[in-house]
Protein backbone atom coordinates (compact mmCIF):
# COMPACT_ATOMS: atom_id res chain seq x y z
CA UNK A 1 0.00 0.00 0.00
CA UNK A 2 1.71 3.19 -1.16
CA UNK A 3 2.05 6.34 0.91
CA UNK A 4 -0.20 8.24 -1.46
CA UNK A 5 -3.05 5.73 -1.24
CA UNK A 6 -2.89 5.79 2.55
CA UNK A 7 -2.92 9.57 2.51
CA UNK A 8 -5.94 9.61 0.22
CA UNK A 9 -7.78 7.11 2.46
CA UNK A 10 -7.08 9.27 5.50
CA UNK A 11 -8.14 12.46 3.72
CA UNK A 12 -11.32 10.77 2.47
CA UNK A 13 -12.19 9.55 5.95
CA UNK A 14 -11.63 12.96 7.53
CA UNK A 15 -13.79 14.45 4.77
CA UNK A 16 -16.62 11.99 5.54
CA UNK A 17 -16.34 12.81 9.23
CA UNK A 18 -16.65 16.54 8.62
CA UNK A 19 -19.42 16.12 6.04
CA UNK A 20 -21.32 14.25 8.72
CA UNK A 21 -20.76 16.95 11.35
CA UNK A 22 -21.66 19.76 8.95
CA UNK A 23 -24.83 18.00 7.76
CA UNK A 24 -25.85 17.49 11.38
CA UNK A 25 -25.39 21.22 11.95
CA UNK A 26 -27.38 22.08 8.84
CA UNK A 27 -30.25 19.83 9.98
CA UNK A 28 -30.20 21.60 13.35
CA UNK A 29 -30.24 24.96 11.57
CA UNK A 30 -33.24 24.06 9.41
CA UNK A 31 -34.96 22.62 12.46
CA UNK A 32 -34.51 25.75 14.53
CA UNK A 33 -37.80 27.40 13.79
CA UNK A 34 -40.06 24.43 13.15
CA UNK A 35 -42.52 24.65 10.29
CA UNK A 36 -45.61 26.74 9.86
CA UNK A 37 -48.45 24.43 8.94
CA UNK A 38 -52.06 25.22 8.25
CA UNK A 39 -54.34 24.37 11.15
CA UNK A 40 -56.30 21.95 8.95
CA UNK A 41 -53.21 19.83 8.36
CA UNK A 42 -53.02 18.97 12.04
CA UNK A 43 -56.17 16.89 11.98
CA UNK A 44 -59.63 17.73 13.24
CA UNK A 45 -62.07 20.29 11.95
CA UNK A 46 -60.72 23.60 10.71
CA UNK A 47 -60.66 25.96 13.66
CA UNK A 48 -62.09 29.20 12.25
CA UNK A 49 -65.20 27.42 11.04
CA UNK A 50 -65.77 25.84 14.41
CA UNK A 51 -65.36 29.13 16.17
CA UNK A 52 -67.86 30.83 13.87
CA UNK A 53 -70.38 28.10 14.61
CA UNK A 54 -70.00 28.65 18.31
CA UNK A 55 -70.16 32.42 18.19
CA UNK A 56 -73.50 32.31 16.40
CA UNK A 57 -74.89 30.07 19.12
CA UNK A 58 -76.57 31.81 22.02
CA UNK A 59 -74.60 31.34 25.23
CA UNK A 60 -76.29 28.74 27.36
CA UNK A 61 -77.89 29.87 30.61
CA UNK A 62 -75.41 29.52 33.43
CA UNK A 63 -72.41 29.52 31.12
CA UNK A 64 -69.64 32.01 31.91
CA UNK A 65 -69.51 35.10 29.71
CA UNK A 66 -66.43 36.93 30.87
CA UNK A 67 -63.13 36.57 32.68
CA UNK A 68 -62.44 39.12 35.41
CA UNK A 69 -59.52 40.06 37.66
CA UNK A 70 -60.75 39.76 41.26
CA UNK A 71 -57.53 40.49 43.09
CA UNK A 72 -54.20 42.11 42.23
CA UNK A 73 -52.88 45.26 40.56
CA UNK A 74 -55.75 45.71 38.11
CA UNK A 75 -58.92 44.58 39.88
CA UNK A 76 -62.01 44.66 37.71
CA UNK A 77 -60.22 44.28 34.39
CA UNK A 78 -62.37 42.00 32.26
CA UNK A 79 -62.44 40.33 28.90
CA UNK A 80 -65.41 38.84 27.06
CA UNK A 81 -65.18 35.12 26.53
CA UNK A 82 -66.70 35.54 23.08
CA UNK A 83 -63.24 36.71 21.96
CA UNK A 84 -61.64 33.42 23.13
CA UNK A 85 -58.91 32.27 23.19
CA UNK A 86 -57.85 34.93 25.67
CA UNK A 87 -54.21 35.64 26.34
CA UNK A 88 -53.22 36.70 29.85
CA UNK A 89 -49.91 38.44 30.43
CA UNK A 90 -47.94 41.65 30.61
CA UNK A 91 -47.50 41.90 26.83
CA UNK A 92 -49.42 44.44 24.79
CA UNK A 93 -51.15 41.70 22.78
CA UNK A 94 -52.74 40.16 25.86
CA UNK A 95 -56.52 40.26 26.17
CA UNK A 96 -56.12 40.80 29.88
CA UNK A 97 -53.07 42.99 30.31
CA UNK A 98 -51.67 42.88 33.84
CA UNK A 99 -49.13 45.21 35.49
CA UNK A 100 -47.98 42.46 37.85
CA UNK A 101 -44.19 41.97 38.10
CA UNK A 102 -44.67 38.26 38.74
CA UNK A 103 -46.55 37.71 35.49
CA UNK A 104 -44.77 36.76 32.26
CA UNK A 105 -45.28 38.59 28.98
CA UNK A 106 -47.36 35.71 27.60
CA UNK A 107 -48.34 33.95 30.76
CA UNK A 108 -51.42 31.83 30.23
CA UNK A 109 -54.28 31.27 27.85
CA UNK A 110 -57.96 30.64 28.41
CA UNK A 111 -59.67 28.70 25.65
CA UNK A 112 -62.90 26.83 25.13
CA UNK A 113 -63.56 23.29 24.15
CA UNK A 114 -67.24 22.76 23.63
CA UNK A 115 -68.84 24.00 26.83
CA UNK A 116 -65.75 23.54 28.94
CA UNK A 117 -63.28 26.31 29.59
CA UNK A 118 -59.62 25.54 29.93
CA UNK A 119 -56.65 27.48 31.22
CA UNK A 120 -53.23 26.60 29.83
CA UNK A 121 -49.88 27.84 31.09
CA UNK A 122 -47.70 29.22 28.28
CA UNK A 123 -44.34 28.38 29.85
CA UNK A 124 -44.46 31.23 32.32
CA UNK A 125 -41.69 31.77 34.85
CA UNK A 126 -43.82 31.69 37.98
CA UNK A 127 -46.50 29.31 36.85
CA UNK A 128 -50.26 29.31 36.76
CA UNK A 129 -52.21 27.92 39.69
CA UNK A 130 -55.73 26.59 39.74
CA UNK A 131 -56.64 26.53 43.41
CA UNK A 132 -53.45 25.49 45.21
CA UNK A 133 -52.08 23.40 42.33
CA UNK A 134 -49.53 24.56 39.77
CA UNK A 135 -50.83 23.34 36.42
CA UNK A 136 -48.67 21.54 33.91
CA UNK A 137 -51.28 20.93 31.24
CA UNK A 138 -54.54 22.50 30.10
CA UNK A 139 -56.91 22.37 33.08
CA UNK A 140 -60.68 22.72 33.18
CA UNK A 141 -62.03 25.72 35.07
CA UNK A 142 -65.63 26.39 35.96
CA UNK A 143 -67.54 29.39 37.24
CA UNK A 144 -65.86 31.03 40.22
CA UNK A 145 -62.76 28.85 40.19
CA UNK A 146 -59.81 31.02 41.13
CA UNK A 147 -56.91 31.06 38.72
CA UNK A 148 -53.75 32.65 40.08
CA UNK A 149 -51.03 34.13 37.87
CA UNK A 150 -48.30 35.96 39.76
CA UNK A 151 -50.04 37.99 42.48
CA UNK A 152 -53.22 38.29 40.44
CA UNK A 153 -56.33 36.16 40.80
CA UNK A 154 -58.79 35.77 37.96
CA UNK A 155 -62.06 33.94 37.68
CA UNK A 156 -64.85 33.19 35.23
CA UNK A 157 -68.11 35.05 35.82
CA UNK A 158 -71.57 34.91 34.39
Amino acid sequence: MSELTLFLIRAAFLAILWIFVLSAISVIRSDMFGARVPETARGGAPVPERRKGKASKKPRRGAPTHLVVVEGENPGTRAELADAPLLIGRGSDAAIKLDDDYVSTRHARVAASGDEWFVEDLGSTNGTYVGPVRITQPTTIGLGVQVRVGKTILELRK
Binding site: M1, T5, L6, F7, I9, R10, A11, A12, F13, L14, I16, L17, W18, I19, F20, V21, S23, A24, I25, V27, I28, S30, D31, F33, G34, A35, R36, V37, P38, E39, R42, G43, G44, A45, R50, G53, K54, R60, P85, L87, R106, R109, A111, A112, S113, G114, D115, E116, F118, E120, D121, L122, G123, T136, Q137, P138
Partner: protein
Protein backbone atom coordinates in the same frame (compact mmCIF):
# COMPACT_ATOMS: atom_id res chain seq x y z
CA UNK B 1 -41.46 28.13 23.49
CA UNK B 2 -43.61 25.46 21.98
CA UNK B 3 -46.71 26.66 23.76
CA UNK B 4 -46.45 30.02 22.08
CA UNK B 5 -45.61 28.02 18.98
CA UNK B 6 -48.88 26.16 19.12
CA UNK B 7 -50.69 29.43 19.57
CA UNK B 8 -49.41 30.70 16.27
CA UNK B 9 -49.92 27.46 14.36
CA UNK B 10 -46.21 26.76 14.57
CA UNK B 11 -45.14 23.16 15.06
CA UNK B 12 -42.03 21.09 14.85
CA UNK B 13 -41.72 18.82 11.87
CA UNK B 14 -41.05 15.14 12.36
CA UNK B 15 -37.77 15.20 10.39
CA UNK B 16 -37.45 11.42 10.25
CA UNK B 17 -36.14 11.66 6.67
CA UNK B 18 -33.38 14.00 7.81
CA UNK B 19 -32.55 11.52 10.56
CA UNK B 20 -32.27 8.69 8.04
CA UNK B 21 -30.00 10.79 5.83
CA UNK B 22 -27.75 11.61 8.78
CA UNK B 23 -27.75 7.96 9.86
CA UNK B 24 -26.48 6.92 6.43
CA UNK B 25 -23.63 9.40 6.84
CA UNK B 26 -23.02 8.15 10.39
CA UNK B 27 -22.80 4.59 9.07
CA UNK B 28 -20.36 5.80 6.42
CA UNK B 29 -18.23 7.18 9.27
CA UNK B 30 -18.40 3.94 11.27
CA UNK B 31 -17.96 1.46 8.41
CA UNK B 32 -15.52 3.76 6.61
CA UNK B 33 -13.33 3.90 9.71
CA UNK B 34 -13.40 0.09 9.93
CA UNK B 35 -12.34 -0.21 6.28
CA UNK B 36 -9.63 2.43 6.73
CA UNK B 37 -8.29 0.50 9.73
CA UNK B 38 -8.09 -2.68 7.64
CA UNK B 39 -6.39 -0.90 4.75
CA UNK B 40 -3.98 0.97 7.00
CA UNK B 41 -2.96 -1.81 9.39
CA UNK B 42 -3.25 -4.95 7.26
CA UNK B 43 -3.11 -3.46 3.78
CA UNK B 44 -6.44 -4.92 2.70
CA UNK B 45 -10.13 -4.42 3.32
CA UNK B 46 -10.96 -6.59 6.37
CA UNK B 47 -12.32 -10.03 5.55
CA UNK B 48 -15.36 -9.64 7.77
CA UNK B 49 -16.18 -6.23 6.30
CA UNK B 50 -19.62 -7.27 5.01
CA UNK B 51 -20.58 -9.05 8.20
CA UNK B 52 -19.41 -6.19 10.40
CA UNK B 53 -20.97 -3.49 8.24
CA UNK B 54 -24.20 -5.46 8.03
CA UNK B 55 -24.38 -5.92 11.78
CA UNK B 56 -23.77 -2.22 12.44
CA UNK B 57 -26.31 -1.25 9.77
CA UNK B 58 -28.85 -3.67 11.24
CA UNK B 59 -28.48 -2.16 14.70
CA UNK B 60 -28.79 1.40 13.43
CA UNK B 61 -31.78 0.58 11.23
CA UNK B 62 -33.50 -1.17 14.15
CA UNK B 63 -32.99 1.91 16.31
CA UNK B 64 -34.24 4.20 13.53
CA UNK B 65 -37.39 2.14 12.87
CA UNK B 66 -38.17 2.12 16.59
CA UNK B 67 -37.87 5.89 16.71
CA UNK B 68 -40.10 6.16 13.63
CA UNK B 69 -42.76 3.98 15.25
CA UNK B 70 -42.85 5.07 18.87
CA UNK B 71 -41.26 8.52 18.97
CA UNK B 72 -42.07 10.12 15.60
CA UNK B 73 -41.44 13.69 16.74
CA UNK B 74 -38.12 12.95 18.46
CA UNK B 75 -35.03 15.01 17.77
CA UNK B 76 -33.51 14.03 14.38
CA UNK B 77 -29.84 14.70 15.16
CA UNK B 78 -29.27 12.86 18.42
CA UNK B 79 -29.38 9.26 17.17
CA UNK B 80 -27.01 9.87 14.21
CA UNK B 81 -24.48 11.61 16.47
CA UNK B 82 -24.54 8.72 18.91
CA UNK B 83 -24.29 6.17 16.10
CA UNK B 84 -21.33 7.91 14.47
CA UNK B 85 -19.38 8.19 17.73
CA UNK B 86 -20.07 4.57 18.60
CA UNK B 87 -19.08 3.37 15.11
CA UNK B 88 -15.85 5.37 15.16
CA UNK B 89 -15.05 4.09 18.65
CA UNK B 90 -15.53 0.48 17.52
CA UNK B 91 -13.15 0.97 14.58
CA UNK B 92 -10.46 2.56 16.77
CA UNK B 93 -10.74 -0.24 19.34
CA UNK B 94 -10.45 -2.77 16.51
CA UNK B 95 -7.33 -0.98 15.28
CA UNK B 96 -5.77 -1.33 18.76
CA UNK B 97 -6.82 -4.99 18.90
CA UNK B 98 -4.87 -5.66 15.71
CA UNK B 99 -1.71 -4.07 17.14
CA UNK B 100 -2.00 -5.85 20.48
CA UNK B 101 -2.40 -9.12 18.60
CA UNK B 102 0.71 -8.40 16.54
CA UNK B 103 2.70 -7.62 19.71
CA UNK B 104 1.76 -10.58 21.86
CA UNK B 105 0.26 -13.59 20.18
CA UNK B 106 -2.87 -13.78 22.26
CA UNK B 107 -6.25 -13.04 20.77
CA UNK B 108 -7.57 -9.59 21.43
CA UNK B 109 -11.31 -9.25 21.14
CA UNK B 110 -12.05 -5.88 22.70
CA UNK B 111 -13.79 -4.71 19.54
CA UNK B 112 -15.95 -7.82 19.36
CA UNK B 113 -16.95 -7.45 23.02
CA UNK B 114 -17.68 -3.80 22.45
CA UNK B 115 -19.91 -4.74 19.51
CA UNK B 116 -21.80 -7.16 21.77
CA UNK B 117 -22.21 -4.41 24.36
CA UNK B 118 -23.37 -2.04 21.65
CA UNK B 119 -25.98 -4.59 20.60
CA UNK B 120 -27.15 -4.78 24.19
CA UNK B 121 -27.14 -0.98 24.32
CA UNK B 122 -29.33 -0.75 21.23
CA UNK B 123 -31.68 -3.41 22.63
CA UNK B 124 -32.05 -1.37 25.81
CA UNK B 125 -32.46 1.79 23.73
CA UNK B 126 -35.35 0.16 21.85
CA UNK B 127 -36.82 -1.26 25.07
CA UNK B 128 -36.69 2.13 26.80
CA UNK B 129 -38.45 3.84 23.91
CA UNK B 130 -41.09 1.11 23.56
CA UNK B 131 -41.84 0.62 27.25
CA UNK B 132 -41.56 4.24 28.37
CA UNK B 133 -44.21 6.10 26.38
CA UNK B 134 -44.22 9.14 28.63
CA UNK B 135 -41.18 10.24 30.62
CA UNK B 136 -43.39 11.81 33.30
CA UNK B 137 -44.10 8.30 34.59
CA UNK B 138 -40.55 8.38 35.96
CA UNK B 139 -41.48 11.24 38.25
CA UNK B 140 -43.45 8.77 40.36
CA UNK B 141 -40.24 6.83 40.90
CA UNK B 142 -38.31 9.75 42.41
CA UNK B 143 -37.35 8.14 45.70
CA UNK B 144 -37.21 4.61 44.27
CA UNK B 145 -34.71 5.81 41.70
CA UNK B 146 -32.64 7.52 44.38
CA UNK B 147 -32.59 4.37 46.48
CA UNK B 148 -31.73 2.15 43.52
CA UNK B 149 -28.97 4.56 42.51
CA UNK B 150 -27.38 4.43 45.94
CA UNK B 151 -27.77 0.64 46.14
CA UNK B 152 -26.02 0.32 42.78
CA UNK B 153 -23.18 2.46 44.07
CA UNK B 154 -22.85 0.24 47.16
CA UNK B 155 -22.86 -3.04 45.17
CA UNK B 156 -19.08 -3.14 44.54
CA UNK B 157 -18.47 -3.24 48.32
CA UNK B 158 -20.23 -6.58 48.59
CA UNK B 159 -17.71 -9.35 49.29
CA UNK B 160 -18.50 -11.94 46.59
CA UNK B 161 -19.34 -9.91 43.53
CA UNK B 162 -17.29 -6.76 44.24
CA UNK B 163 -14.00 -6.38 42.38
CA UNK B 164 -11.07 -4.05 42.85
CA UNK B 165 -9.65 -3.25 39.42
CA UNK B 166 -6.86 -0.71 38.88
CA UNK B 167 -7.14 0.68 42.39
CA UNK B 168 -10.81 1.61 42.27
CA UNK B 169 -13.48 -0.58 43.79
CA UNK B 170 -16.22 0.20 41.28
CA UNK B 171 -16.76 -3.15 39.60
CA UNK B 172 -19.02 -6.10 40.15
CA UNK B 173 -18.50 -9.46 38.56
CA UNK B 174 -21.56 -11.54 37.75
CA UNK B 175 -21.38 -14.73 35.71
CA UNK B 176 -18.08 -13.79 34.14
CA UNK B 177 -19.22 -10.31 33.11
CA UNK B 178 -17.64 -7.26 34.73
CA UNK B 179 -19.94 -4.34 35.15
CA UNK B 180 -19.69 -0.85 36.65
CA UNK B 181 -22.99 -0.24 38.44
CA UNK B 182 -22.03 3.42 38.90
CA UNK B 183 -22.72 4.06 35.23
CA UNK B 184 -26.36 3.08 35.67
CA UNK B 185 -26.52 4.83 39.04
CA UNK B 186 -25.92 8.21 37.46
CA UNK B 187 -29.04 7.87 35.28
CA UNK B 188 -31.03 6.85 38.37
CA UNK B 189 -29.74 9.83 40.33
CA UNK B 190 -30.66 12.22 37.52
CA UNK B 191 -34.24 10.90 37.69
CA UNK B 192 -34.26 11.22 41.47
CA UNK B 193 -32.79 14.73 41.50
CA UNK B 194 -35.17 16.04 38.84
CA UNK B 195 -38.21 14.42 40.46
CA UNK B 196 -37.34 15.98 43.79
CA UNK B 197 -36.27 19.38 42.52
CA UNK B 198 -39.31 19.87 40.30
CA UNK B 199 -41.55 19.58 43.35
CA UNK B 200 -39.45 21.59 45.74
CA UNK B 201 -37.75 24.17 43.57
CA UNK B 202 -40.06 27.01 44.58
CA UNK B 203 -39.47 26.28 48.24
CA UNK B 204 -35.75 25.96 47.62
CA UNK B 205 -35.56 29.23 45.73
CA UNK B 206 -37.90 31.41 47.79
CA UNK B 207 -38.19 30.15 51.37
CA UNK B 208 -35.31 30.46 53.79
CA UNK B 209 -32.95 32.91 55.41
CA UNK B 210 -30.43 35.18 53.84
CA UNK B 211 -26.88 34.72 55.09
CA UNK B 212 -24.34 37.22 53.76
CA UNK B 213 -25.42 37.55 50.15
CA UNK B 214 -26.72 34.02 49.65
CA UNK B 215 -30.26 32.82 50.21
CA UNK B 216 -30.01 29.64 52.21
CA UNK B 217 -32.98 27.31 51.77
CA UNK B 218 -34.72 25.64 54.69
CA UNK B 219 -33.23 22.41 55.95
CA UNK B 220 -36.34 20.35 55.32
CA UNK B 221 -36.38 21.40 51.66
CA UNK B 222 -32.74 20.73 51.00
CA UNK B 223 -32.34 17.81 53.41
CA UNK B 224 -33.45 14.81 51.36
CA UNK B 225 -31.54 15.77 48.25
CA UNK B 226 -28.47 16.71 50.25
CA UNK B 227 -28.64 13.29 51.93
CA UNK B 228 -28.92 11.53 48.57
CA UNK B 229 -26.00 13.56 47.27
CA UNK B 230 -23.89 13.18 50.40
CA UNK B 231 -24.29 9.42 50.51
CA UNK B 232 -23.32 9.00 46.88
CA UNK B 233 -20.31 11.28 47.26
CA UNK B 234 -19.17 9.39 50.35
CA UNK B 235 -19.44 6.07 48.57
CA UNK B 236 -17.43 7.36 45.63
CA UNK B 237 -14.72 8.73 47.88
CA UNK B 238 -14.49 5.39 49.71
CA UNK B 239 -14.27 3.65 46.35
CA UNK B 240 -11.39 5.91 45.40
CA UNK B 241 -13.20 6.93 42.23
CA UNK B 242 -12.21 10.55 41.67
CA UNK B 243 -13.65 10.98 38.21
CA UNK B 244 -17.13 9.87 39.19
CA UNK B 245 -17.21 12.03 42.32
CA UNK B 246 -16.33 15.02 40.17
CA UNK B 247 -19.09 14.05 37.74
CA UNK B 248 -21.75 13.67 40.46
CA UNK B 249 -20.76 16.91 42.11
CA UNK B 250 -20.99 18.85 38.85
CA UNK B 251 -24.27 17.17 37.95
CA UNK B 252 -25.82 18.02 41.32
CA UNK B 253 -24.71 21.63 41.08
CA UNK B 254 -25.93 22.09 37.50
CA UNK B 255 -29.36 20.68 38.32
CA UNK B 256 -29.72 22.74 41.48
CA UNK B 257 -28.78 25.88 39.58
CA UNK B 258 -31.18 25.18 36.72
CA UNK B 259 -34.02 24.28 39.09
CA UNK B 260 -33.73 27.31 41.38
CA UNK B 261 -32.32 29.92 38.95
CA UNK B 262 -30.07 31.11 41.78
CA UNK B 263 -26.49 31.92 40.69
CA UNK B 264 -25.62 31.87 44.40
CA UNK B 265 -25.54 28.08 44.18
CA UNK B 266 -22.69 28.28 41.71
CA UNK B 267 -20.72 30.42 44.17
CA UNK B 268 -21.44 28.00 47.02
CA UNK B 269 -20.63 25.03 44.78
CA UNK B 270 -17.43 26.62 43.57
CA UNK B 271 -16.30 27.25 47.17
CA UNK B 272 -17.23 23.70 48.18
CA UNK B 273 -15.33 22.36 45.19
CA UNK B 274 -12.27 24.42 46.08
CA UNK B 275 -12.44 23.22 49.69
CA UNK B 276 -12.93 19.60 48.58
CA UNK B 277 -10.08 19.80 46.08
CA UNK B 278 -7.78 21.32 48.69
CA UNK B 279 -8.70 18.64 51.23
CA UNK B 280 -8.16 15.91 48.66
CA UNK B 281 -4.84 17.48 47.66
CA UNK B 282 -3.65 17.57 51.26
CA UNK B 283 -4.86 14.17 52.44
CA UNK B 284 -4.90 11.91 49.37
CA UNK B 285 -1.46 11.23 47.93
CA UNK B 286 -2.96 10.13 44.64
CA UNK B 287 -4.45 13.57 44.02
CA UNK B 288 -1.14 15.28 44.73
CA UNK B 289 0.51 13.04 42.16
CA UNK B 290 -2.15 13.86 39.59
CA UNK B 291 -1.54 17.58 40.10
CA UNK B 292 2.20 17.20 39.78
CA UNK B 293 1.88 15.09 36.62
CA UNK B 294 -0.39 17.75 35.17
CA UNK B 295 1.94 20.66 35.95
CA UNK B 296 5.24 18.96 35.16
CA UNK B 297 4.50 15.84 33.13
CA UNK B 298 8.04 15.34 31.85
CA UNK B 299 9.63 15.40 35.33
CA UNK B 300 7.79 12.25 36.39
CA UNK B 301 8.19 10.25 33.17
CA UNK B 302 10.33 7.55 34.79
CA UNK B 303 8.88 7.74 38.29
CA UNK B 304 6.56 5.11 39.69
CA UNK B 305 3.74 5.99 39.86
CA UNK B 306 4.71 8.32 37.07
CA UNK B 307 3.28 10.33 34.25
CA UNK B 308 4.43 7.86 31.59
CA UNK B 309 0.89 7.30 30.30
CA UNK B 310 0.03 10.98 30.02
CA UNK B 311 3.36 11.92 28.44
CA UNK B 312 3.10 9.17 25.84
CA UNK B 313 -0.43 10.34 25.05
CA UNK B 314 0.78 13.92 24.66
CA UNK B 315 3.67 12.77 22.45
CA UNK B 316 1.23 10.79 20.32
CA UNK B 317 -1.13 13.69 19.88
CA UNK B 318 1.74 16.01 19.07
CA UNK B 319 3.08 13.58 16.49
CA UNK B 320 -0.37 13.24 14.98
CA UNK B 321 -0.45 16.93 14.22
CA UNK B 322 -3.16 18.48 12.14
CA UNK B 323 -4.31 15.53 10.02
CA UNK B 324 -2.74 12.60 11.87
CA UNK B 325 -0.50 9.72 10.83
CA UNK B 326 -3.23 7.59 9.33
CA UNK B 327 -4.60 4.35 10.75
CA UNK B 328 -1.77 1.88 11.33
CA UNK B 329 1.05 4.44 11.12
CA UNK B 330 1.05 5.64 14.71
CA UNK B 331 2.08 3.94 17.94
CA UNK B 332 -0.99 4.32 20.15
CA UNK B 333 -0.15 1.01 21.84
CA UNK B 334 2.62 2.81 23.76
CA UNK B 335 -0.12 4.45 25.85
CA UNK B 336 -1.52 2.10 28.52
CA UNK B 337 -5.32 1.92 28.32
CA UNK B 338 -5.33 3.52 24.89
CA UNK B 339 -8.64 1.74 24.18
CA UNK B 340 -10.56 3.16 27.14
CA UNK B 341 -9.68 6.40 28.94
CA UNK B 342 -7.07 7.43 26.40
CA UNK B 343 -8.97 6.70 23.19
CA UNK B 344 -8.88 10.40 22.30
CA UNK B 345 -5.09 10.29 22.21
CA UNK B 346 -5.25 7.36 19.79
CA UNK B 347 -7.57 9.34 17.54
CA UNK B 348 -5.40 12.42 17.93
CA UNK B 349 -2.35 10.45 16.85
CA UNK B 350 -3.79 8.64 13.86
CA UNK B 351 -6.45 11.06 12.61
CA UNK B 352 -5.09 14.28 13.99
CA UNK B 353 -6.56 17.45 15.34
CA UNK B 354 -9.06 17.54 12.48
CA UNK B 355 -10.83 14.43 13.76
CA UNK B 356 -10.53 15.38 17.44
CA UNK B 357 -12.22 18.69 16.67
CA UNK B 358 -14.99 16.89 14.80
CA UNK B 359 -15.52 14.56 17.77
CA UNK B 360 -15.61 17.36 20.32
CA UNK B 361 -18.07 19.13 18.05
CA UNK B 362 -20.24 15.98 17.99
CA UNK B 363 -20.30 15.95 21.80
CA UNK B 364 -21.06 19.66 21.76
CA UNK B 365 -24.01 19.02 19.48
CA UNK B 366 -25.31 16.23 21.75
CA UNK B 367 -25.19 18.61 24.72
CA UNK B 368 -26.75 21.40 22.63
CA UNK B 369 -29.62 19.11 21.66
CA UNK B 370 -30.13 18.11 25.30
CA UNK B 371 -30.34 21.75 26.40
CA UNK B 372 -32.59 22.54 23.45
CA UNK B 373 -34.90 19.69 24.49
CA UNK B 374 -34.93 21.16 28.00
CA UNK B 375 -35.89 24.56 26.58
CA UNK B 376 -38.83 23.36 24.53
CA UNK B 377 -40.05 20.71 26.97
CA UNK B 378 -43.50 21.50 28.39
CA UNK B 379 -43.07 20.04 31.86
CA UNK B 380 -40.55 20.92 34.53
CA UNK B 381 -39.57 17.32 35.17
CA UNK B 382 -38.65 16.77 31.52
CA UNK B 383 -36.69 20.02 31.47
CA UNK B 384 -34.65 19.08 34.51
CA UNK B 385 -34.06 15.54 33.32
CA UNK B 386 -32.84 16.73 29.91
CA UNK B 387 -30.49 19.21 31.59
CA UNK B 388 -29.21 16.50 33.92
CA UNK B 389 -28.60 13.97 31.15
CA UNK B 390 -26.95 16.63 28.99
CA UNK B 391 -24.66 17.73 31.78
CA UNK B 392 -23.61 14.11 32.43
CA UNK B 393 -22.32 13.93 28.86
CA UNK B 394 -20.78 17.41 29.00
CA UNK B 395 -18.98 16.85 32.30
CA UNK B 396 -17.74 13.42 31.31
CA UNK B 397 -16.33 14.68 28.02
CA UNK B 398 -14.75 17.71 29.64
CA UNK B 399 -13.12 15.75 32.45
CA UNK B 400 -11.72 12.97 30.30
CA UNK B 401 -10.73 14.87 27.15
CA UNK B 402 -9.44 17.75 29.26
CA UNK B 403 -7.36 15.26 31.23
CA UNK B 404 -5.93 13.46 28.20
CA UNK B 405 -5.02 16.69 26.43
CA UNK B 406 -3.39 18.14 29.55
CA UNK B 407 -5.93 20.92 30.10
CA UNK B 408 -6.86 19.75 33.61
CA UNK B 409 -5.40 17.12 35.96
CA UNK B 410 -6.20 13.66 34.73
CA UNK B 411 -9.03 11.70 36.32
CA UNK B 412 -10.27 8.41 34.98
CA UNK B 413 -13.66 8.47 33.27
CA UNK B 414 -14.88 6.86 30.09
CA UNK B 415 -15.41 8.89 26.95
CA UNK B 416 -19.14 8.45 26.24
CA UNK B 417 -19.87 6.10 23.30
CA UNK B 418 -16.25 6.10 22.19
CA UNK B 419 -14.12 4.20 24.65
CA UNK B 420 -14.14 0.53 25.48
CA UNK B 421 -16.37 -0.32 28.42
CA UNK B 422 -19.69 -2.09 28.34
CA UNK B 423 -21.43 -0.55 31.31
CA UNK B 424 -20.71 2.98 30.16
CA UNK B 425 -21.84 2.23 26.60
CA UNK B 426 -25.09 0.62 27.69
CA UNK B 427 -25.88 3.44 30.14
CA UNK B 428 -25.18 6.04 27.47
CA UNK B 429 -27.55 4.37 25.00
CA UNK B 430 -30.25 4.52 27.67
CA UNK B 431 -29.46 8.21 28.19
CA UNK B 432 -29.89 8.75 24.44
CA UNK B 433 -33.25 6.92 24.54
CA UNK B 434 -34.47 9.04 27.47
CA UNK B 435 -33.46 12.25 25.69
CA UNK B 436 -35.30 11.12 22.56
CA UNK B 437 -38.40 10.31 24.60
CA UNK B 438 -38.43 13.74 26.25
CA UNK B 439 -37.85 15.46 22.90
CA UNK B 440 -40.68 13.47 21.31
CA UNK B 441 -43.04 14.74 24.00
CA UNK B 442 -41.69 18.27 23.69
CA UNK B 443 -41.82 18.59 19.90
CA UNK B 444 -45.17 16.91 19.46
CA UNK B 445 -47.84 19.50 18.61
CA UNK B 446 -49.64 20.67 21.74
CA UNK B 447 -52.78 18.68 22.49
CA UNK B 448 -55.81 20.15 20.77
CA UNK B 449 -58.86 20.46 22.92
CA UNK B 450 -61.34 19.12 20.40
CA UNK B 451 -64.80 18.12 21.52
CA UNK B 452 -65.84 14.96 19.74
CA UNK B 453 -69.46 15.99 19.41
CA UNK B 454 -69.99 19.72 19.34
CA UNK B 455 -73.53 19.86 17.94
CA UNK B 456 -75.50 17.60 20.25
CA UNK B 457 -76.03 20.45 22.71
CA UNK B 458 -76.17 18.07 25.65
CA UNK B 459 -74.09 19.88 28.24
CA UNK B 460 -73.95 16.87 30.53
CA UNK B 461 -72.39 14.57 27.92
CA UNK B 462 -68.84 13.40 28.55
CA UNK B 463 -66.21 15.37 26.67
CA UNK B 464 -63.36 13.55 25.06
CA UNK B 465 -60.16 15.54 24.90
CA UNK B 466 -58.17 14.65 21.84
CA UNK B 467 -54.55 14.12 22.72
CA UNK B 468 -52.77 13.56 19.45
Amino acid sequence: MSQTGSLMGFVHRRRRGAELFLLVLALAVGVGAYAAVGLGVEGAVPADMVGYGGWLTGLIIAAHITVRLVAPYADPVLLPLVAALNGLGLAVIHRLDLTYEAMGNDQHTFARQQLIWMTLGVVLFVATLVLLRDHRVLQRLTYTAGLVGILLLVLPFLPVIGRNINGARIWINVAGFSFQPGEVAKVMLVIAFSGYLVLHRDALALAGRRVLFIDLPRGRDLGPILAMFGVSMMILVLQNDLGSSLLFFGLFLAMLYVATERPGWLVVGGLLFAAGALAAYTFVGNVQNRFNFWLHPLDYYDASPGSYQLVEALFGQGWGGLIGRGFGNGFPERVPFAYSDFIISTIGEELGLTAVMAIILCYGLIVERALRIALISRDGFGKLMAVGLGSIVALQVFVVIGGVTGLIPLTGLTTPFLSYGGSSLVANWVIAALLLRISDQARRPAPRLDPVDDTSGDSESTQVVKLR
